[in-house]
Structure formats: C-alpha cells, structure tokens
Subunit: 362 residues, 2 copies
C-alpha cells in the first residue's frame, strides 16, 4: 500500500540520506520532446541509455517512458534495465521525481514536492507540466512506498544533503519568484527542515551562469562526504562563472555544517566554456511556450553534475580538454569508488546533466 | 531483469497453475473507452472498483490505467490497491495480459500471447489494438519476470487449466478464422502443450450464445478443482443457449482428463436471459470500427465468469432471480472459500465479466 501521510518526515523520524549512501535502485525518465532534444531526441536517447547502462553496472535501474516510446526505449536499453510506463512532459527525474527518505529501521518513504517546470508561469521552461507533476506519486505507487505531499515548489536538483543534518542549496533558485514567492526564506528553510529532516541550510548565493533552472545547486556544488564539498570552478576572471564560483567558495569557507564542522571545498575546473552550435540549434523544434534555444548560447556545463551510485560515480564528459583532470581529481577524491566518465554533451544541450536525469531510491 | 526467452515453458519445466492455486496478486485494467462502456465509463469504473475492492480483501491487486485516467482511478480505488500506468485500448486483463507459469521451485515466468482484439481484421471488436498487445510485456517488465513470446493468437479467457495437465477450451474460439487460420487444430494443440505445459486439451464445441469473443470458455465452463467442472446452464429448450450447454455437457461427460479421470459437471443456471436496454444502448458512443451495441441485443450473461482469489470467489450478480441460487450453489461446491457476489451488469454490458477483467499472478 502507498498512502499519503498527513504528517512530515521529521515528525515521523524519517530523513533524506546522502546520495553517497547505499541505493536500492536508480530512477530515470526517457527523453523524447523535440523542443528540448535535438533530432527527435535520438542522440539524447543514446546518451541516456549510456548513463543507464553505466549505472546498471553498480545497481538496478528503472527507466520511465511515455507509451509511444515504450517499444523504442525497451529496444535501446539492455534487458537488465527495467522499463515502465510513466507519462512525462520531459525527462528530468531528479527534479520531478520523489525525494526518498528513510528512518533508523531502514523503512523508506517519499516526498512529493510541487513541480512547476522550473518557474511556472513566471519563468518556467515549458507548459503544461501536468504529467511531470504526477511522476513522484506514480513512482511511489509502483514501489508501494508511502508518500508525503510537501506544500512547496521544489526540484530535487536544487538541494543536496550530507545525511548528517546539512542541506546545501542556492538562494538564486529557492528564492526565485518562479518558485514560492509567497514564502520567506525562513518559511522555506522551515519546510526543508520538516521534509528533509535537516538542521541547517547552507545558502550559496547563485548557481552556474546561464543555468536555465534558476541556478540549481546540483550543477554548481555537491557533498563528496560530510564536511567535504566539490565546487565547479574556472580560473578565467573574465568568465561570468568566475564571480559565481568565487562567491560560493567564499560563502562555503565562512560556514560550518550542522555538526559544527568547517567545510573543505575541492574545486573542479569547468569544461569549455561551451556554446550551442548552429547545427545543434537547428535540430531543435521551435514550439510556442518552450524555451527557445539559439546558436551561440552559453551552455551551463559542469562536471559537478555527476551521480553517485553503489560503488560508482557517473561523471559527464564533453570531449573537452578539462575532462581528464575532472575525472582524475574525482577519482582521487573518491578512492573508494570507481569513477566512470560518460559523454554527456547531448544531455547538456537539453539543459541539465547526469545528476539531473537520475534519482536514487535508498 | 525481464528477458525474452527463446525456449518454451514446457522445455524449461514451467507450467500454468490452476486459477484456484495460490496467487501473489491480481492484475486488472481500468475501463475507459466510451464505445465499450456507457456514460463515459463511469458506471463501469464503479463496478471495476467494486471488483478490485472485493479481491483486495483476499490478495494484493494492481490496476493498470491510461495516463489520462490515472488521477481518477487513483481517487476511485482504495489505497491498498496499487495503481500503475499501463496504456491500453480497452480493459480486459484476462485476454491481453500475460499467462503466468511456474516451476517446481516456485519461480514465475510469463507467456505473452499474440493479441488481435478477438478476431483481428476478420471479426475483431475494435481497431487498433496496439496498446493491448503490449500489456503482457509491460506487466512482466514491471514485475521483472522473464517472458516467453508465444507465436499464437490467444486470449487468456479462451483457456482454463486444472493445473494437472488438462486444458479446457472451445473449438468455436480457438478454431475461429479470426485467430490462427493458418494453423490446424493439431498445431494449436501442440502450441498449448508447449506454452501451458499440459498433456490434454478438452475441446468443448461452442461457448455462450452471442458471446462476442467467439465463445470464450471462461464464460461457459471452468474447473472448480481437478476433475470437477462448473457449466452455465438453462432449462429453457427454446433458449439458443440450451443446445450449446447441452452439447458441452454431453462432450464433457464423454471425456476423461489428463490423469484419466472422468469429469463431474455441475450446472449453474444462467441469469435472465438478459438484454441490452434502450437506455443502456444510448449511453454508448458509436465509433467507426468498434462493434455497434443495439438495444434489445442478447447479453452473454453467465455466473461462470467468476474469479478465484486466495480464499475467495468473486462472482458476478445481475439483480436477477437466479443470483441467489448461483451464489448458494458455488458456496456449496467451494466450501473452503468465501463466495462474494458483486453486481456486474455494467461489466457484462462491455462484453465480458469478472473473470475477463482479472488475471492472477501466482
């Protein structure tokens, strides 16, 4: 049975574990819409498949798909990846999927946040988003996991937790007028405390430059373990990313986590800078109500948008000179895991990366 | 993992257990199409919900639903019933769902028959049937059960097994030109032996009068236990059903089962006869390519179209003078189970009944 519970995770002793804690499986969605994904989403489908295959080496993977792509997804994905129908508007399981919480007895429940396509009628990326809004509930229903319905617009990519009481987020996103304009920063912090069962929120000012999610933290910075953070970086002071990364670094070094620890920050140099090519822009459908994609636009590329799975780390690569250093650094920082690079420019073209298209179920 | 296996259940030591054996759960689909179900399917949805609730007293139930009815199905069904997306053309899980097989070690696999909407372009009931055709695969994928793809058009409602080597079917249906006209009766029997792992097929000549499925056995006769069969019946020699039931009785009494046992046949008097009313016919959409429903048409009502679940028997009732006798007789014949009657005229109006809308997963 999957029931919608009237209480909150905090009240019931459930909390969101860190992504680097053990997973039961990974959830993904299948890319399809031709106004997000160029060339009828065929290159993106290949890239998503490569991500699913990489994760499946470490843990079970379920991919949700619209019915009219079911046969194609089933044919493109290997048999060890489970494919289920899950109607969606687009394919960002991190953002519309449930945030799973656990308790000390190892029971699992799910938080179903409100979803409005990264900004609703204010600055959302497409309309409608009715199917995405139902994804979390449907996932919990398939798994027969009880559900909390959080009265807050929030995407999973806008938060990270260390599993020990600390939440990492950006003010740019969580305080955006496209999310919860009726709530104060304190109100939002209180909701995060209730639904993630954390003690302290670290508010990095801004996310990655030109990130269409209003600056999701998961493209900028993440926990490697409690007390240690990885941060996307550039040495080029003329790059508009420079001041964003620098201000994040300064902020993080000035803070302590929920346990009172000072934070160690590891910088990972960004790829590129990367830009949308004319050929890539040409392959994308222009659709009323969806974000236009123009040749020459800066892409919000970052190696931080990687995904932890059981014993592994799946890292986006861009056929870029910085790829090797990013992979080497992450492998050095995470010696207990196997770091796997996956070519991910096609995912980036859709506006996110590997972390954005995955969701762990502990 | 759910793989499609190149072998057959018989080759691998798997067989179809009888419906009265223990179930892991029951699968159903959600009724929706307004050319099958009157008044926008609302009365049918109520009736299906009542069936799901009745079964859920005995075992878990999963209901598959098209995405545009997900919220409604979720709201109408109680929380203990699992709801998952499964796109379908109509709602007959018995006929388009998988036939589950087990082995001596209790492992489960599924047979995915070819489905052509009860007759394909010859005398099928609607077009297209592309989504129904994929239901079995999708169910097995959700459950991560390996799959056999049987090269035979067959609906689950056209066969019954006793779990001890005997299959019960009708020649009217399995030899219909709308199913497998290129195959001989012997060819079909060989496929049944391979995919159900049975030893003997009992070929009742015809099913229930005016049954739009070309005479599915599950509306006419079923095993109550090995060696014992229930058969729909009428005492009225002027009813066209009389000669069909009489010829079935004569045939069954002339046969032995796979174990060499003579068969005991219990007759259950049919309801009615029942006819489609003008008011009911009015509520059904006329759609090109779908079977028209005309006021005054004889309905293929039968109490035999009931469903075994763990410890229970869910029997259709029709607000008919014969209801009480049917329930009493079944309870007497099945004293080890609780017989539950569910008003099912709304299901019958769509062309089948409780057995047709359910599928057991052992």
């Amino acid at each position: 049975m999957s029931q919608t519970l009237p209480s909150t995770p905090r009240a019931d002793g459930f909390f969101m574990p860190a992504e680097f804690s053990p997973h039961r499986q990974t959830w993904m969605l299948w890319p399809q819409r031709p106004d997000t994904w160029r060339l009828g989403a065929k290159p993106a489908q290949k890239a998503f498949s490569a991500v699913a295959c990489a994760i499946a080496q470490f843990e079970p993977v379920t991919v949700g798909v619209n019915h009219n792509q079911y046969a194609n997804a089933r044919a493109m994905l290997p048999p060890q990846v489970r494919v289920v129908e899950l109607s969606s508007n687009d394919s960002w399981m991190r953002d519309c999927g449930p945030t799973f919480v656990i308790n000390a007895q190892g029971q699992t429940r799910g938080v179903d946040w409100m979803f409005n396509a990264w900004g609703g009628l204010y600055n959302g990326l497409y309309f409608p988003w009715d199917l995405d809004e139902m994804i979390a509930q449907k996932v919990l229903e398939i798994e027969q996991v009880d559900r909390y319905r959080a009265p807050l617009v929030l995407e999973g990519g806008s938060i990270h937790v260390d599993g020990e009481g600390t939440c990492l987020t950006t003010a740019e996103c969580l305080l955006s007028p496209g999310r919860n304009p009726h709530l104060s920063q304190q109100d939002i912090e209180n909701y995060l405390k209730e639904y993630l069962n954390i003690e302290k929120v670290l508010w990095i000012p801004r996310g990655v430059y030109n990130d269409e999610t209003s600056g999701h933290v998961d493209n900028l910075a993440c926990f490697l373990r409690p007390g240690e953070i990885a941060l996307t970086w550039t040495e080029d002071k003329s790059d508009p990313q420079y001041e964003r990364s620098a201000e994040a670094l300064e902020y993080l070094l000035s803070q302590t986590d929920a346990k009172g620890r000072k934070l160690t920050v590891h910088t990972i140099h960004q790829p590129g800078p990367l830009f949308l090519t004319a050929e890539e822009a040409e392959g994308i459908d222009a659709v009323a109500g969806a974000l236009p994609r123009r040749a020459g636009e800066r892409l919000a590329g970052s190696y931080i948008n990687f995904y932890f799975c059981n014993g592994g780390v799946i890292v986006p690569t861009f056929d870029d000179p910085h790829d090797a250093a990013a992979l080497t650094t992450l492998q050095r920082l995470l010696p207990e895991r196997r770091v796997v690079g996956i070519p991910a420019r096609e995912i980036l073209l859709g506006g996110g990366n590997i972390h954005c298209i995955t969701q762990q179920q502990p």
